[in-house]
Symmetry: C2
Subunit: 339 residues, 2 copies
C-alpha cells in the first residue's frame, strides 16, 4: 500500500506537505502541490480510511437500519427502493453505507454501541419497530439520524403524503360511483394513523358513512391476514363495493379472498392498493394504487442527513418532509351505478 510517507520520500518533501497537497489545503506552494499530486496519482495512492477515521473522527460511513420482525428488512420492497435512491445520493457525496447489526466480534451490543464502535457519521432508519428501546436510545444519543415513515424528536424525517394519498384513492372510488368503501389498516404505526385519518376525513367530506364493520385490521405485507380481513368484509350483510388494501403486496391476499368468494375484480368488487412499485406494475390485474415517490423520499432523506452531519451546529427542518403522492388508476376499480 502506498502511503503519504512513500510519496513524501519520492518527492523529497515532508508528509505534512503531501497531506496538505492531496487535500487541497493551504500551506503548500502551487507547484509543489501539483508535483505531489501528480506523483500520488502515478503511485496509485489511496488514503487509508481507518487512519483518516481514527484521526478525524469521521468515517464517511452511514449505518442502515432496515430490519423487521423477521430480520428480513432487505426484502421490503418499498424501503429498499427508498434505500437505493438514498444510497445513490450519499455515494455522490462520498459516503458509504453499512448494514447495521448488533454484534461486535462475538458480543451482542446495542445499535448505539455498534454506531460508536464503527464511528458511523449518521444513521438511516426505516422499516423497523420504531419504538424499540434501542432505537429510542439511538435517537436520544444525538447521532445524526434520518427516518422514513416516522419522526424522532430532534431528527429530520421523510414520508409520503399519506393523508392525501388515501384521500385521492377515496375520491377516485367515489367518482366512479362507489359509496360503500372499506379500509383495511396495516399494523399500528404513524403511517397507519395518518392513512386512517385520511380515510376518515375523505369519507366525511364526501358525506359518506363508514360503518364500524368497514374498518378492519391487518398488517403491511401480510398476505394471509389481508386475505382473512377481506373475506370478513365480503361476508358482511352489506359488503363494500371497494376495498382499500394496506399495500399492493398485501393485496395479493385480498385478491385471493375475492377470487375464493367467486367474485371478479373489478366487476364485482374494486380494490385499491398502496405503494405503486414497479413489481406490480405488470401483474394482472394491474392494481389501482397510490404511488409513493421513492426517489424523492430517498434523495430528500440523504439531503437532510447530510445537512445534519455537515452542519451539526446549525438549526434544521424539524418538521418532517412530506413528499407528494400520485394515484395510479390501474384497472381494479370499476365504474358502478350509484346505489
Amino acid at each position: 500500500m502506498v502511503t503519504l510517507k512513500d510519496i513524501a520520500k519520492q518527492c523529497g518533501v515532508s508528509v505534512a506537505s503531501v497531506s496538505k497537497a492531496i487535500n487541497h489545503m493551504p500551506g503548500v506552494g502551487q507547484q509543489t502541490a501539483q508535483r505531489i499530486r501528480d506523483m500520488a496519482r502515478k503511485m496509485g495512492y489511496l488514503p487509508n480510511a481507518a487512519a483518516q477515521a481514527l484521526k478525524t473522527n469521521r468515517s464517511f460511513n452511514i449505518g442502515v437500519l432496515l430490519e423487521d420482525d423477521d430480520r428480513h428488512g432487505l426484502l421490503h420492497h418499498f424501503f429498499v427502493s427508498v434505500l437505493e435512491h438514498f444510497k445513490m445520493a450519499m455515494e455522490e457525496m462520498g459516503y458509504d453505507l453499512m448494514l447495521m447489526n448488533r454484534t461486535i466480534g462475538r458480543r451482542t451490543v446495542s445499535y448505539l454501541e455498534h454506531c460508536r464502535h464503527s464511528n458511523l457519521d449518521g444513521v438511516f432508519v426505516a422499516c423497523i419497530d420504531f419504538f424499540h428501546p434501542e432505537l429510542q436510545e439511538l435517537a436520544a444519543a444525538g447521532i445524526p439520524l434520518v427516518s422514513i415513515d416516522h419522526t424522532y424528536k430532534g431528527h429530520p424525517s421523510v414520508y409520503s403524503d399519506n393523508v392525501e394519498g388515501i384521500r385521492k384513492a377515496v375520491k377516485y372510488a367515489h367518482k366512479l360511483g362507489h359509496r360503500r368503501i372499506a379500509y383495511i389498516s396495516g399494523a399500528p404505526a404513524g403511517v397507519t394513523a395518518r392513512r386512517e385519518e385520511g380515510f376518515r376525513m375523505a369519507m366525511a367530506q364526501l358525506g359518506l358513512e363508514v360503518p364500524q364493520e368497514y374498518r378492519v385490521f391487518s398488517r403491511y405485507r401480510d398476505i394471509k391476514l389481508t386475505q382473512k380481513a377481506t373475506a370478513r368484509l365480503l361476508a358482511l350483510p352489506t359488503p363494500p363495493t371497494c376495498i382499500l388494501m394496506p399495500d399492493d403486496y398485501a393485496s395479493l391476499g385480498g385478491i385471493k379472498a375475492i377470487r375464493e368468494a367467486g367474485l371478479r375484480i373489478p366487476e364485482d368488487i374494486s380494490i385499491i392498493g398502496f405503494d405503486g412499485l414497479p413489481t406490480f406494475e405488470h401483474a394482472h390485474p394491474r392494481i389501482c394504487t397510490v404511488y409513493q415517490d421513492v426517489k424523492t423520499i430517498g434523495t430528500e432523506a440523504a439531503r437532510l442527513l447530510l445537512q445534519r452531519i455537515e452542519n451539526k451546529a446549525q438549526p434544521f427542518e424539524e418538521s418532517p418532509v412530506i413528499v407528494p403522492v400520485r394515484l395510479v388508476k390501474g384497472d381494479t376499480v370499476a365504474q358502478i351505478a350509484e346505489s
Copy 2:
C-alpha cells in the same frame, strides 16, 4: 468515548495489560485480567474499529457488490434474499457488510481501489456484469471473494443446481403429457448456459425434439422482452404447450402475452418459472417453478468466504458449491392428452 487508556488509569495498570486482558491474550494475571474486564464493562468500553483496523489491517468489513445495469441491484429479489442469509451468517462471525460503490470522497475509483481504501476483508459478488473489467481486476487482486452464479478462477462460488432444476421442470411437464416444450433464455451468462444445457439434455433424454423456433431469448427480470418472446412462441404454426420462463418475475410478461392472445393458463398453455421466492407464492395463478434455496446459498457463501479470510494460506474448495433445487408444482402446468 472510553479508551484503553481510561481503563488503564482507573485500574492503575498499563494500556498494554488492558489490551491483553480485553482480548483474552496471555501475559496478564488471571485476577488482574478479570478486574480489568469488569472495569471495562462498567465503563462501557467499546473498541474503536478504526484504530483496530489501522493497527491490524483487518476491518471485519465485507464489501457487497450487488449492482445491475440500472444500478438497482438491491431490487433483485433473488440476490437480496441470498444476501440476507449471507448477512446473518457473517454477522454471527462479527463481520459487517458494506454496500460497495465507486467513489472515495468526490473521486471515482475502481472497486478494487475502494476495497483497499476501506480495508475490506472480503467481497461478496452477485448480480452484476461478472465480466466487467473492474471485476476481473478485483478477482485477480487476490482479495478474498465469493460469488453467486459465477465462478472466478481462484475463488470460491455458490449456485443452484441449474441443470437439474431445468431438468426437473422438463420432466414434470413431460409427465403431465407435454411434448412441445419451449424455453425462453435469460441473458447470456454462466447460469443461462447451464440452464440451456439442462434443457437440451432433458429434452434429449426424453426423446423430445426442440425445434429451432422453440429456443427464444429474453433477459432475466425483463417483463417486456419476455412478453414479446412469449408472443412470438404463441404465434408459431405449431406453438408449444408448455413454456419455461427465464424466472418468475419475467413470467409476468409471459402471462400478459398469453392473456392477450386470449389463452388461459394452464388450460390452453402451461408455464414454468424459476426462483420460487415467497413474493410470487401467493400470486394468482401460483406459478410452477424451480425453487432456489437462498438460505443455503447465502450461508454457504459466508462459510466459504470466511474460510478464505481466516485461513488465507490454506487450500480451499476451488470448484463451485452446487446447491440442490426443488420443483414447486403450483398450478400453471396442466395435465394434457399426449399429442
